[in-house]
């Protein structure tokens, strides 16, 4: 009996995987994509270009950062966590000893406040949906709201 199951198991898994591919599981979609300006996909495309211009030197093309100097943007609690805090880091910058993915980094993160709210929203939407990250996009309105709290 057990032998039979073991022998058939790979076949069953294969069949499941194949049907999953055809069906496309609904839960894969980023949650509020529809709400954001210009739609999630368009935002992410624009965000990629902006990331290349403003973030790539330090955080690198693949988001892995630079050992000891610039932190990764891969599944960190800052990238995936509270959006207000994340937007705040971009608007204010960051230059203190904080632990990021179990390590510390010594460069300063310069404020990106010169970027427009929409640009910051696009960059963060890209970051939150790249490098293995999967999280909701960020809207310009969310950035505007956080900017209003910073003098």
């Amino acid at each position: 009996m057990r032998k039979w199951i073991l022998a058939v198991m790979p076949l069953m898994i294969g069949a499941l995987a194949a049907s999953a591919q055809v069906k496309k599981p609904a839960r894969e979609k980023p949650v509020p994509a529809k709400q954001s300006t210009g739609g999630g996909a368009a935002q992410i495309v624009r965000g990629k270009a902006l990331y290349k211009q403003y973030c790539i030197s330090c955080h690198q093309e693949n988001g892995t950062g630079v050992p000891r100097m610039n932190p990764p943007l891969v599944k960190t609690e800052y990238v995936l966590g509270d959006k207000t805090r994340l937007i705040g880091i971009l608007l204010k910058g960051l230059n203190e000893d904080v632990e990021i993915n179990g390590d510390y980094f010594t460069n300063p993160m310069p404020s990106q406040a010169a970027l427009k709210d929409q640009e910051i929203a696009d960059i963060l939407s890209y970051v939150r949906n790249s490098f293995g990250n999967k999280a909701s996009t960020v809207s310009a309105a969310e950035v505007t709201a956080v900017r209003a709290t910073i003098k």
Binding site: Q60, T64, P110, A114
Partner: protein, 433 residues
């Protein structure tokens, strides 16, 4: 009486031979030669003909600078203390070249480590400590170092304190600039430079302190050289009796001034410079940088430069100018006799490898050699040891399997190289047989 004296002398002599031969049994080897066998694949390194390499040790943590004693013991500084241990003492007790005994102490992370006379000196990112050594060059009391210098500036950026000593009881320490180019807003596009740059008073230079005076701080030291953004590799050149340093040049010319510098220019500029210092030397940071293609000191864009205007008439000229961003972390003037004549008194430089050359591939991750004759470079620099990063091109520094950091010379003339990714200690030997 006479008989007895001779006998005693003989016994002492015999005992001495026994001690020395047991201490020198293998590891350190005879000056000018080595019995140590390289690894079959030369530890993955590409070296000039006749050279071989082995991994003396591996997986040690983030090994930064290294110092080898006259009997072959190896001290290594860890970037971060592991289980409250930031210094490793490594021994090769059977002489096969492989480290087979390891002890650790020193509950602080850092970069600098240097053995001189009867002391081991080591640094955190704020302080310099020393430990008295016994006749075997082993630390007597690892738990109670003496505090030589304290309170050096550490504002995160360029925090490491590299050290070297001269033959006159002075210690030289790098205090890096807590800034890229002294902009009002650090690393922010278009922000102009502060005039005068206030960082120069307490950082961005080499400070000199007394090696045997305790609890010194800024007021006790001398700002020996200034205008140095950040130095990690430095060495005292014994034949010239002079301090040489490797500066990490400024970053992000294109990011910060996109209308003045293309990405391509920014990937190669400015030069990583070797300077020969005298007391009072000013190397020009942040007002200028060195362009290795134009062979000129250029006004920094933060101070009105545009890639064409020169500046810093009174600033030192570099002794050697390497391509940009390769991050020279180790410097060593070779005084051994194991390597061929060409290498005598020349400089080895360990390049940690770049991070801000995008969209180009990153560069560096190798050890280069600069031949010297009569105290001056005698020919172009050449790559001496390559392959640390692994086989592929390095798109991002995180792709590099190993990154060279510290350099030291063993008593037999072997060259030691540390790697601060996997904690490998490489030993490079010349195959004399």
């Amino acid at each position: 009486m006479l008989m007895q004296k001779t006998k005693v002398c003989l016994i002492v002599a015999m005992a001495m031979t026994a001690i020395t031969s047991s201490v020198f049994a293998g590891g350190p080897g005879k000056p000018g030669a080595t019995d140590v066998k390289p690894d079959a694949n030369n530890a993955g390194l590409k070296l000039p003909a006749g050279f071989g390499a082995l991994k003396a040790a591996d997986s040690l943590g983030r090994t930064r600078h290294i110092s080898v004693t006259s009997n072959g013991g190896v001290y290594v500084k860890l970037d971060r203390a592991k289980n409250n241990n930031g210094i490793l003492y490594l021994q090769d007790t059977n002489g096969d070249g492989k480290i087979d005994k390891k002890t650790s102490f020193g509950g602080y992370g850092g970069t600098g480590i240097y053995v001189k006379g009867d002391y081991l000196y080591a640094t955190s990112n704020e302080d310099i400590y020393r430990y008295k050594l016994d006749a075997q060059q082993q630390v007597i009391d690892p738990e109670h170092p003496e505090l030589v210098v304290t309170g050096l500036i550490n504002r995160r950026q360029h925090e490491s304190k590299s050290i070297v000593l001269d033959d006159n009881g002075n210690i030289y320490v790098n205090i890096g600039a807590y800034s890229n180019s002294c902009q009002t807003q650090d690393r922010t596009a278009g922000s102009m430079g502060m005039q005068p740059c206030p960082i120069l008073d307490s950082a961005a230079g080499i400070w000199q302190f007394k090696a045997n005076k305790l609890n010194q701080t800024y007021g006790d030291g001398v700002r020996y050289a200034t205008g140095l953004r950040n130095v990690v590799g430095l060495d005292w050149n014994k034949s010239l009796n002079q301090l040489f340093v490797m500066q990490h040049g400024r970053d992000q010319l294109h990011d910060l001034f996109p209308s003045l510098y293309t990405e391509k220019q920014s990937a190669d500029l400015p030069a990583e410079c070797m300077y020969a210092l005298k007391q009072g030397s000013d190397c020009g940071w942040p007002y200028i940088y060195y362009d290795q293609n134009q062979h000129k000191k250029m006004l920094a864009p933060e101070y009105g430069g545009d890639g064409k205007k020169t500046g810093g008439e009174n600033a030192e000229d570099p002794v050697v100018a390497f391509p940009g961003h390769m991050a020279p972390n180790g410097l060593l003037f070779y005084t051994g006799t194991q390597f061929p004549e060409k290498y005598r008194n020349g400089a080895f430089v360990a390049f940690h490898g770049s991070w801000n050359r995008s969209p180009e591939n990153q560069a560096g991750f190798f050890v280069v050699f600069v031949p010297f004759k009569d105290g001056k470079p005698a020919g172009k620099w050449e790559v001496f040891a390559d392959g640390f990063a692994g086989p592929g091109p390095v798109k991002s520094p995180g792709d590099a399997q190993h990154r060279p950091c510290g350099l030291a010379q063993g008593p037999d003339g072997s060259l030691y190289v540390t790697d601060d990714v996997k904690g490998t200690v490489y030993r490079i030997v010349y195959k004399t047989k």
